[in-house]
Symmetry: C2
Subunit: 271 residues, 2 copies
């Protein structure tokens, strides 16, 4: 999907909501069996229930891999289901990163094979480990400043010039990749960080996890993270939406939570 199309879908719907699909087999609503097929059916039901409000979906590959080969088939079913929603941007949350010839294989399987628009990637191994993901018409989403406590361990540590490691990683992304096919992960739990990252990368799209279960707020993200033109954000919520209810009303509860988040986004929508 091109940046122009993604921005058009966002403007049309006035939403930057990305629904994270982290289907923990032990937390499925009662209606679903605790199997790989159960997680596939659950994810498809969540997609159908929230599609009116979401502009993006982000299956988290770990929750599928946890189920073994059957989980990978469940992921294939979810990817197939998402192809019925061509107005939605699709992200494989995989955090891959390896030497060039290996990275090409991940890109082949996840972007070309499953048809996802984007994949999340980890920067530690450097340029040749992440460039293979920027295929024509596809996006890579590089880790920048993450929402978890461990961000303190390396990302926020100062390099020789006094700036933190993550700022050097952002410089590299800026030099290596076109903002038309490169996003950056910036956690919502660090609004001061979000503003700093926006100052450094005025044009890039940010994928912002950490709203909801991890404690970040939509208002802060919209106010400190939006770019001047076209918003430039995808705000992800996973557990807050997909586990909004464990009862038979799980789909309606997910839909209502998606609507609530989009209402908040619209309240702080950049003029």
């Amino acid at each position: 999907m091109t940046r122009e199309l993604l921005e058009a879908f966002i403007a049309q719907k006035k939403s930057v909501l990305c629904v994270g699909l982290d289907p923990d087999v032990d937390k499925l609503p009662h209606a679903f069996p605790k199997t790989a097929q159960g997680i596939a059916d659950f994810c498809c039901a969540i997609i159908d229930a929230t599609a009116e409000y979401a502009v993006a979906y982000k299956p988290n590959l770990a929750f599928f891999e946890a189920m073994g080969p059957a989980g990978w088939s469940a992921l294939a079913q979810v990817a197939e289901h998402l192809l019925q929603y061509p107005h939605h941007f699709t992200i494989a949350d995989a955090k891959r990163g390896d030497i060039g010839n290996t990275a090409k294989q991940y890109a082949k399987g996840i972007l070309e094979g499953f048809g996802f628009d984007a994949i999340t990637v980890a920067p530690y191994m450097g340029r040749d480990s992440i460039e293979p993901f920027a295929l024509p018409g596809k996006w890579a989403i590089g880790l920048g400043l993450t929402s978890n406590p461990g961000a303190q361990d390396f990302q926020l540590q100062p390099m020789a010039d006094g700036r933190p490691l993550y700022a050097h990683v952002l410089d590299a992304y800026k030099n290596w990749a076109d903002p038309g096919q490169w996003m950056v992960v910036v956690g919502a739990t660090r609004p001061e960080g979000l503003a700093a990252v926006r100052a450094q990368l005025p044009e890039h799209f940010f994928l912002v996890p950490g709203v909801g279960a991890q404690g970040g707020s939509v208002q802060e993200v919209m106010q400190s993270g939006a770019c001047q033109k076209g918003v430039g954000l995808l705000i992800n919520s996973s557990r807050g939406i997909i586990y909004a209810s464990s009862g038979d009303d799980f789909a309606e509860a997910a839909r209502q939570e998606a609507k609530r988040l989009v209402d908040q986004m619209q309240m702080y929508w950049p003029q």
Copy 2:
């Protein structure tokens, strides 16, 4: 597998050879179909042919994921086949790393589900993203100083104290994890780096890729990377062994190449 067992197997065989299974479907010997079943059968044949010389096997998950859900079934077949070799250490080369609740899912699928002894992990997201992999009886293998050109981009860049990023990552591994279930990836293409890493981590096992196709030498690794007691190395070769021949003699050629590497290891075996 405990460290004591691993060291006993290494001493008994006088080998630290890890055979990397990177089954590129386009490079399979002519005898195998270019399918997921083809890569599973190829990997099992390579394992059988080299088991006398190898002490470890390392399937690279990217090459299986490239084949979609059928590739994941192929990985399951290879993992099952490896269970017939309980005297060999098995590593899922996955380079995973994500927030705690996601990391737990990867550990569940790859270490518990498939039964691998170890998994490679990436450090960028910090402590909470990698600790979940250190399950009882299992190992995590953290990226340290890698063998690819991109190591220059971040790993070798100086932090505020003048030491490179990778040295800080090694400090963290040392503080966070028991060397009885934590290895470090150190590339063979940087022998001066290998000696520095060994000086910093005298006790840890190193997984050393980059011998063969990537240009590193067994002699340099044995001389600059061995620890005082029990060698403390696993030297990986992938393409040099598994693609030693594309003809009908592929298994014998792989076996001969494995033997050749082990002969070199024995020539420089620490006294």
